[in-house]
Assembly symmetry: none
Homo-oligomer: 213 residues x 2
């Protein structure tokens, strides 16, 4: 890369697309251009949070992408601090040589859509609610999905997750109530490729952090 401002080029190259997307999706979509190498924000349109160019992206390393891998990720879900739920899509943008040059993320606030869908669904399906199982039948599948989701989202394969990563995943799993299910702990440990001991350590840490009282 160039001298001190390697970003310029890429922003110039990609900003029309970004602006188009931002314009198309209206006020509820945030478009972010990331520098995959430095893991920082290059530019941002219609920001939903206080991020600005130069801020860390928190994307995780996407640089060890093999060319065969898919360049478009998602849509997957993120949750903002204020509870708004986003549908996000990420795309690896490559230069003329085929090298990854930036990462584009589009974050669509789905709450209005959710509300609309709920309205429609309620309109259409009046009272015949389903017996609705207490929990998903195939919870191991579900565990794998949560773990897999994080892997996907962080770009790191399971066996290379950091301690903090695993802590995050454990937090999600705990929030999802997974650990109230019989036999879930060993399964989770396996999925997380860690030992049962460590899993419990992480879990304890998570719970201690959450309520230090």
């Amino acid at each position: 890369m160039r001298a001190s401002e390697p970003a310029d080029d890429r922003v110039r190259t990609w900003s029309p697309v970004c602006r188009a997307v931002a314009a198309l999706l209206g006020p509820y979509a945030e478009v972010v251009l990331h520098d995959a190498a430095t893991d920082r924000v290059l530019a941002i349109w219609n920001p939903m949070t206080a991020r600005a160019p130069g801020d860390p992206s928190l994307l995780g390393e996407l640089d060890d992408l093999d060319p065969a891998a898919e360049d478009v990720f998602g849509p997957y879900e993120k949750v903002l601090a204020d509870g708004r739920r986003l549908s996000s899509v990420s795309a690896v943008l490559r230069d003329a040589e085929g090298e990854p040059s930036a990462v584009l993320c589009v974050n669509l606030d789905r709450t209005p859509l959710d509300q609309a869908a709920a309205v429609l669904a309620g309109f259409a399906a009046p009272r015949t609610r389903r017996p609705e199982p207490l929990f998903e039948r195939d919870w191991p599948e579900r565990v794998h999905r949560i773990v897999g989701g994080f892997v996907h989202e962080s770009g790191r394969p399971v066996e290379r997750l950091t301690r903090e990563d695993r802590l995050t995943v454990v937090a999600r799993l705990d929030d999802a109530g997974v650990f109230a299910l019989r036999r879930s702990a060993p399964e989770v440990a396996r999925a997380l490729q860690t030992s049962r001991s460590t899993l419990y350590a992480l879990l304890a840490e998570h719970r201690a952090r959450r309520s230090p009282r």
Copy 2:
């Protein structure tokens, strides 16, 4: 339809409402005015099937309506022969004396709504659906609700349920996956006002019945 048609009055009275509703809900709503006494169609707007005035209504007995009962029913679901699913609302229309004079039915074809909802839902919630708890947070509450539901439905208080009753409840609970939750067995036993031993006996019996293979 004058002389031989006693319906006239009522149709004249109610048709503005019916037309308004039909207009409001667009091409997907059928509005039918029934004669509750003769159980025949008085008038129909925007019919979805080949019914015409004078045809039997097939409403079933709505005549034994006590005045205290609610006059508006639904929305409930109907299914057309061709598979279209309808959301329906019925209303008893009363004359000046408070006597039932006709029944209004509005049948809304929900397939377009369902499709729209699906589109929106798909748009909004692509692949990683809600962190959506794996199971209800307050599952004991849920257990009580299932048990209570059965009690309500059978009219017998918990402590007077028959063996077969309890077996049914256990079946429902098992189908809901309750027994995959840690610590659920004692709670269920308590809710069912039976002993843990018996609970396990019932559970075993249920599972044996289900798959005698």
